[in-house]
């Protein structure tokens, strides 16, 4: 157990030292929503002042960790640790274009945050699912029921690659939303879920 003031940037965001940019961004979004002014999770336990202070520290941690040079300096000079750069560079090109320009300032309430990231399997947050019936969750349900993608593809006559793309929320691989919605409906129905509930909660890109 550590005193709050002693937490380093990684501990503050619940990250491990090999975290990649995707991990950092996701952890940051969760942290901001945890300590934002209208956050439900901090109700009754934290004062306005505590939340403001924590948000400042989260901002400092994020801007340092998201910047390669600042992070290297922090690791070396402040924490005195050496981390294999290769471990951090997974997906870097894929993610950086999406996130890095975002300087993170100006988040006042949770509603200002739209979480688009669902990657990072080694993320220290185990709950990477961000929607009630997001792709990851649907996949979990399918696997729990012992149903394969191929089986659904056969029965619904929807291409397996589309079903897979739905689970991975890989929207580039999917046809127009109106068609994808149809696929999702059939997929949900096959799993025994209420298709309308799933459609309502699944977040199609920009949806």
């Amino acid at each position: 157990m550590k005193r709050l003031e002693e937490l380093n940037y990684y501990e503050l965001l619940n990250l491990d030292e090999n975290a990649d940019l995707g991990d950092i961004h996701q952890a940051y979004l969760i942290a901001v929503s945890t300590y934002s002014r209208d956050s439900l999770a901090s109700h009754s336990i934290l004062s306005e002042e505590e939340k403001t202070n924590m948000l400042k520290r989260i901002e400092a941690a994020y801007t340092t960790l998201i910047d390669k040079n600042k992070r290297l300096f922090y690791d070396k000079e402040v924490l005195k640790i050496y981390v294999d750069e290769n471990l951090r560079n997974r997906n870097i090109s894929e993610i950086s274009s999406k996130f890095v320009q975002h300087n993170g300032y100006g988040f006042q309430s949770k509603r200002d945050i739209t979480d688009e990231s669902d990657r990072g399997e080694k993320n220290t947050f185990k709950h990477t699912e961000s929607t009630i019936f997001g792709g990851a969750h649907l996949k979990n349900i399918r696997e729990m029921k012992g149903i394969t993608i191929d089986e659904i593809a056969q029965k619904t006559r929807i291409r397996a690659s589309y079903l897979k793309a739905l689970e991975e929320e890989n929207f580039e691989q999917l046809p127009a939303e109106v068609f994808s919605k149809g696929f999702l409906k059939a997929y949900a129905k096959y799993l025994g879920l209420d298709p309308d509930v799933v459609i309502r909660n699944y977040k199609f890109k920009e949806g």
Binding site: M1, N14, G192
Partner: protein
């Protein structure tokens, strides 16, 4: 319980006691308890589920039993001599119920000796799993039943009142756990300060408490630290209505770790589902009546996480084992 050295090869896996609490009433503790019991029983385990919501019992209803013939009150009033006599068969194979349906109103305030006796008998029940469905509030009776368990499950719902109560519950539970372990009047003042702390008092966090104890006796402080590190309740967010609510579990975990010093395990979320109240109105258990509804499916997923955790950690009061950090 004996003091003889533990055998090298244990006879059989020890019984697991799981308690479901969380402070506030109406969050779904009873439905969660019933679902856990049914899912464990369906997986082939012998399960006894106890309605420990003394004074507000209704677990029997969730299991489809309208009028339980015996209840825990019979034990407390000494009408029966052991808990075994109270076991009621349920519609589910392998699952038996000890009902808490209350027939005398003061039952919620059972005295210390009776509570100790109840705990002793619960520990001696012959079963693979014992599930305790706890009542609301943070009375010592509720906390002590929570703390004798191997797996401490907290149910919270996305409402300010429930969130507020779950923090209070965690704080009361950890202080009670430390106080039980300590049992030494030298430290009572420090505990009193910690219990009463509301603002910027000297003993606001567990860290402060440990520091104060350390000033008096560092080995006691080390023991307490171990007690804190081996306490890892499992959090279930129930009645999730919006996507925002899912990260509530991660956020509560984060705040609890940073500000209360307790490391929770976020075990899963269960969406709000009309089928829950429908099943209750029909006097049928949710997970057998609507096995494919979203609440049941998520209950199954949550169950998998609960089982993964419980095999690796052991939180029972006397037993100390290192906690598996991120299983």
């Amino acid at each position: 319980m004996s003091n003889i050295d533990t055998p090298i090869i244990p006879d059989e896996p020890r019984k697991q006691i799981w308690a479901v609490g969380g402070g506030k009433g109406g969050t779904g503790k009873t439905v969660v308890s019933a679902s856990i019991g049914i899912l464990l029983a369906k997986a082939g385990n012998r399960v006894i589920i106890i309605d420990a919501d003394l004074g507000g019992a209704n677990l029997h209803t969730c299991l489809g039993i309208r009028h339980p013939s015996t209840t825990i009150a019979d034990f407390l009033l000494k009408k029966v001599t052991s808990l075994d006599e109270l076991l009621l068969e349920t519609p589910i194979k392998n699952l038996r119920l000890i009902s808490g349906a209350n027939d005398f109103l003061t039952i919620a305030n059972i005295p210390f000796a009776q509570k100790q006796k109840l705990i002793r008998y619960i520990r001696n029940l012959n079963s693979d799993y014992v599930i305790l469905d706890l009542g609301a509030g943070t009375s010592f009776n509720v906390l002590d039943l929570f703390l004798i368990s191997d797996s401490n499950i907290l149910v919270v719902m996305p409402e300010p009142t429930s969130v507020e109560n779950v923090y209070r519950f965690i704080k009361c539970a950890i202080l009670r756990r430390l106080n039980n372990a300590l049992n030494n009047s030298r430290f009572q003042d420090i505990f009193r300060l910690a219990t009463e702390a509301r603002g910027n008092e000297s003993v606001k966090t567990l860290y402060d408490l440990l520091e104060r104890v350390k000033q008096i006796d560092s080995s006691v402080a080390a023991d307490l630290k171990k007690k804190i590190n081996t306490f890892s309740p499992k959090l279930i967010v129930n009645q999730v209505r919006e996507n925002d609510n899912i990260s509530l579990g991660s956020s509560i975990k984060d705040i609890t770790k940073k500000y209360l010093g307790v490391d929770l395990d976020y075990s899963g979320y269960i969406p709000y589902d009309e089928k829950v109240s429908e099943s209750i109105k029909r006097f049928k258990p949710l997970v057998t009546e609507y096995p494919n509804c979203s609440a049941s499916l998520c209950m199954n997923l949550t169950m998998k996480k609960l089982l993964n955790g419980s095999k690796l950690s052991d939180g029972q009061e006397e037993v100390e084992e290192s906690r598996n950090e991120e299983a």
